[in-house]
Every structure is written in structure tokens, then in C-alpha cells.
Amino acid sequence: MFEPFILPLLGGVLIGLAAGGLYLFAGEIAGVTGIARIALVGSKRSSYTGWNTRGWAVAFIAGLLVAGLGAAVLGGPAVTAGIETVAPGLLLVAGLLVGIGTDLGNGCTSGHGVCGLSRFSPRSLAAVATFMFAAGLTVFITRHGGF
């Protein structure tokens, strides 16, 4: 009965090792949105005055992509099961909302969810509770709201 939880737990431990490791070794928070913003725009926060360069951020994203390539070779279609069921127009709207929301909110499931909670950040706890609730409510409305 515990079998369904083993892979999520193992994956979670790897994510935790990577997030903790990035902070311990490079001193950076493993928030995918923040890292994407550094790679795209060059700075993490509008008030940021640190010595950040884009190189490490691009390297992190390259790591994510190489992991995806590995999964494409070894994992098969189950890895991304369900992507084809989301309408293309909906994907565009959702992508836009995710991009704007995570940028304004300074983080997503990784930055707030993993790193923020591990650092006992009150902001991250508030953000995680809010986006979990909003996501759950959205799924409830789209699945059980008579659409």
C-alpha cells in the first residue's frame, strides 16, 4: 500500500539534495522562476544589487534540460502523461499566468515550496498556502463545476 509513495518520496529527496546543495555550494536559492528570471532578464529582484551573473543560472537550466533528455530516452510517455489532454489555448493562458504569477510572487513550487519552507520563511509559507488553495479551487471548478 506504500508503493505509490516511494517514487514521489525518492524524487523529493533528490530535489531536496539539489536545492540544499545549490545553496551550500553556490549560495543560491533553487527557485526555478527566480533562476529563469536571472537567465532571461539578468536580476532576481528589482532591488537586487548583488554580483549575480547569468552563467550559473543558464547552467542550472541546462541541467534541467539534460535531465529531461535523459527521461525522454529512458522514461517513455508516462513521464509527461496528461500533457496532451490540456487544450493548446489553455496551455498558453496557463503559461502566461504561471509566468506573471511566479514573477510577481517571487517564486513557485521550488523557490517557495522547497527552499522557502526549508528555511522557515513566513513569506514562503503564505505563498505556498495561497497557490495550493488557488490551484485546488481551480481544479475543483474546472472538474466539478459543470464544465
Binding site: 508516462a78 503559461g95 504561471v98 510577481l104 520563511s121 503564505a126
Partner: protein
């Protein structure tokens, strides 16, 4: 060295997302759909990640500087504000509509680029629009709102 450590972290992070099932919208919908056939297994992803990362962050905080970098880039301790919560609401709606969050989106871009390309491009547009347009606008409004307080002379 810093970029290499970062690459390895991204690689392990991405493998963790794949192994845990976070790259599958079906799994994510199963987790978010509490009123349906609820599949709570993805709670173990965040649980396992936080359980593992917490002692490493604790260890890091006891050091003067990171192993291969000059200083820690720790987020500032600003209060919870409307921008944080508003952003989280928008992100939650997008995640609930698609079953995709930013990390899995980038990993999946290398697995099935055609299926997820639209989402990734829209997400990039959203991040750049927010960074370059929305944030400066909101910053300007905030500065403007506090200006009269500064301008009023003390009598």
C-alpha cells in the same frame, strides 16, 4: 566551478522532478483534485524535499560563505504583501488549469517540446512582461503613494 555546481544541481533537481511524477499533469491533477479520486502521493515530493533540504540549509547557515562562491544570496525578509499573495493566486490558477509548474515545464521541454512549447513560451513572455513592465509600474505606484508623506512639511 560555480556554474558546474549549478549544472549538477539542475540535473539532480530535474531527475527528482521526473522520478517523483511532477512532470505528469495527470499526476498533478490527481493530487490537486481533492473532491475526485484524490491521489495524495505528490505530497511526499514536497515532504521529502523539505525534509532533506532543511538540514542542508541549516548546515549552510553555519558557514561564513558557500563552498564555491563568495557569498550567500539570501532573499530579504520583507513582510507578506499583496504582490506576493496576488502573484501566488495567479500562479495557482495557471498551475490548476494546466497541471504544470515552472520546473517540470523546463524538464518537459526537452522530453516533448511540441506538446509543451506553447506553455514554455507563454511562461517566458509572462516572466519578462512582469519583470520589465508590471514590476516597474507597481514600484512607481508605491513610490508615488508614499511621496505626499515625505513632501508634507512638519508644522
Amino acid at each position: 566551478m560555480r556554474a558546474f555546481a549549478s549544472f549538477i544541481a539542475g540535473l539532480v533537481f530535474g531527475l527528482g522532478l521526473v522520478i517523483s511524477g511532477m512532470t505528469s499533469p495527470d499526476k498533478v491533477f490527481g493530487f490537486l483534485d481533492i473532491a475526485g479520486q484524490w491521489d495524495p502521493s505528490l505530497a511526499f515530493v514536497m515532504g521529502g524535499a523539505v525534509m532533506t533540504a532543511t538540514p542542508i540549509f541549516w548546515l549552510a547557515r553555519r558557514r561564513a560563505k558557500p563552498v564555491v562562491s563568495a557569498s550567500f544570496d539570501t532573499p530579504p525578509k520583507t513582510p507578506v504583501d499583496r504582490r506576493l499573495l496576488g502573484g501566488a493566486v495567479l500562479f495557482g490558477i495557471g498551475w490548476g488549469l494546466s497541471g504544470i509548474c515552472p520546473g517540470p515545464a523546463l524538464v518537459s521541454a526537452a522530453i516533448t517540446p511540441l506538446a509543451i512549447g506553447g506553455f514554455v513560451i507563454a511562461m517566458v513572455v509572462g516572466i519578462v512582461f512582469s519583470s520589465r513592465v508590471l514590476r516597474p509600474l507597481l514600484d512607481a505606484r508605491q513610490t508615488h503613494a508614499t511621496l505626499p508623506e515625505i513632501a508634507i512639511p512638519a508644522e
